[in-house]
Subunit: 299 residues, 2 copies
């Protein structure tokens, strides 16, 4: 069946029936806006990600994995703040001649990713377009005092990552990654990072955001940066879409974290320094070079 | 200047600088997610709207008015729940060769619409695409017991609208409308409608949503439906994009509302009846006909 046959309200009803929500969702899909409840006094985290056919995915990729990626990109942003993902809104632009099964599979992927973090899909919008565009707007919950921005790194802080970087596009990792929500929750509850970000554009650019917003510099060590199988250092620096977390911790808690036995993996990759000292990479053979910030150009 | 020259981060920085937020916004544009605070115990209203070039607007329309419309479509959804719009996230897909001034004007329109309701633009996403796509995800605040869904209309309830309908496309009203936030707040605080919706697809279809979700029927009166200058009854029923509110009220409060002097305009257009009696329009010459539900097809 084609979408033109199903019609807009048919499509919405189909999506509504496929979604099951928690008691936190008072009114879900099907009204003008969703109504949700949070614990009193919590902070809200709000994020949105738009994925466009031909830029972030192609129609010959599995629709289910595209859906999973669309949801997980936003979930990763909530993780990067130390928050708990709660409520998602899905906007979908689709061509009328698209097979309905594609949208079913896309939503299957969106639902599976949502279920992995017990978050609710509470609403959305559907429009016609020649290319597929998916926007996921996600509301998360942050506990007071446990929300981590990009702006708190201090000279002397250690720089850590949650997993190997590079080659996410060639390995399919950019479609199948698991957002580091559990790792982030563990960190904010036990070690409270001074700054945190997820790797979407590559280590060079994303750590660069922490440095810019914290007004500091850094030296990272080539030999310490964990690489995905088959990846080289430039892949880690510039590929992006790894969706691991980069975070900074003062020296003492960093040392403590690295000797603590946990279910998770944390790798120390460098140290924050004064802004005037620059943004450097210590190469394997010992020389320090400036990090080139040639991240993926969206325009 | 073209967007390719400005670059993604240049564009984001440009937008960030142009936006001024309230004290409710703890962290705005420029981190992984926005952090916001609401009064404890309030309910959240969440809505999202996607506007696509060639469907909802064309590039030869004023960018400022396109921005205004994009924001106001979501604001209207929060109004239709009786809520207060608070925090907006803007996703923007744009071609690299688009003039930067177009995006500046678009955001000027978005900011002006936001300022009219004292709501904050707290984040977003920017991607490259050959056609312009704008998604506005909006979080609103609902007071407990004052949130109005589409599902509460009862037989005997009166059906009212906040203003004239029809011809929004030919008159430019679809770009320049003012969402009925004040009217909705006045209603929920003094008369609490049993159901409410905004007119996006046309009276026939949107009242139809209230009927479907409330499991009731209705009879509307052709002679009572207020028409925009130059519009005929079919424009009111099927044009859409009026963004007036349709709401239902029990007979007593409806009578009371209609004799109260307010700053606002409310028009009684019909009555809710049992579902078995159907969805009818009483024509000027007295006959009742079924309402044809031939609303705008998105697919």
């Amino acid at each position: 069946m084609r979408l033109t046959g199903l019609g807009e309200f048919g499509l919405i009803e189909r999506i509504r029936r496929s979604v099951k929500n928690s008691a936190r969702t008072v009114i879900g899909i099907g009204d003008d806006a969703a109504v949700v409840s949070l614990v009193a006094g919590q902070q809200l985290l709000l994020t949105t990600d738009m994925l466009v056919e031909g830029v972030h995915f192609t129609k010959d990729m599995t629709a289910r994995l595209i859906g999973r990626k669309a949801m997980n990109c936003s979930v990763s942003d909530i993780a990067a703040m130390g928050g708990i993902p709660r409520f998602a809104l899905i906007s979908l632009a689709v061509p009328g001649n698209l097979e309905t099964v594609f949208v079913d599979d896309l939503f299957r992927g969106l639902r599976e990713a949502a279920a992995a973090f017990a978050l609710d899909i509470v609403g959305g919008d559907t429009v016609r377009n020649d290319k597929i565009v998916i926007n996921v707007a996600l509301t998360g919950e942050g506990k007071a005092g446990q929300v981590v921005s990009r702006g708190g790194a201090k000279p002397g802080d250690q720089i850590l990552v949650t997993g190997p970087l590079g080659g996410s596009l060639t390995s399919g990792g950019h479609l199948k990654f698991l957002p580091r929500v559990k790792e982030a929750r563990y960190l904010v509850e036990h070690f409270l990072p001074t700054a945190m970000i997820d790797v979407s554009d590559g280590l060079a650019s994303d750590l660069g955001h922490i440095l810019a917003q914290s007004k500091v510099g850094a030296v990272i060590e080539e030999s310490a940066i964990p690489l995905r199988k088959g990846a080289i250092i430039d892949n880690a620096l510039y590929d992006g879409e790894d969706f691991e977390l980069i975070f900074t911790l003062a020296q003492k808690p960093a040392a403590q974290l690295l000797k603590t036995k946990t279910l998770y993996h944390f790798y120390r990759i460098g140290e924050i320094q004064e802004a005037a000292k620059g943004y450097l990479i210590k190469k394997r053979y010992g020389r320090c070079l400036p990090v080139e910030n040639k991240s993926y150009k969206h325009f």
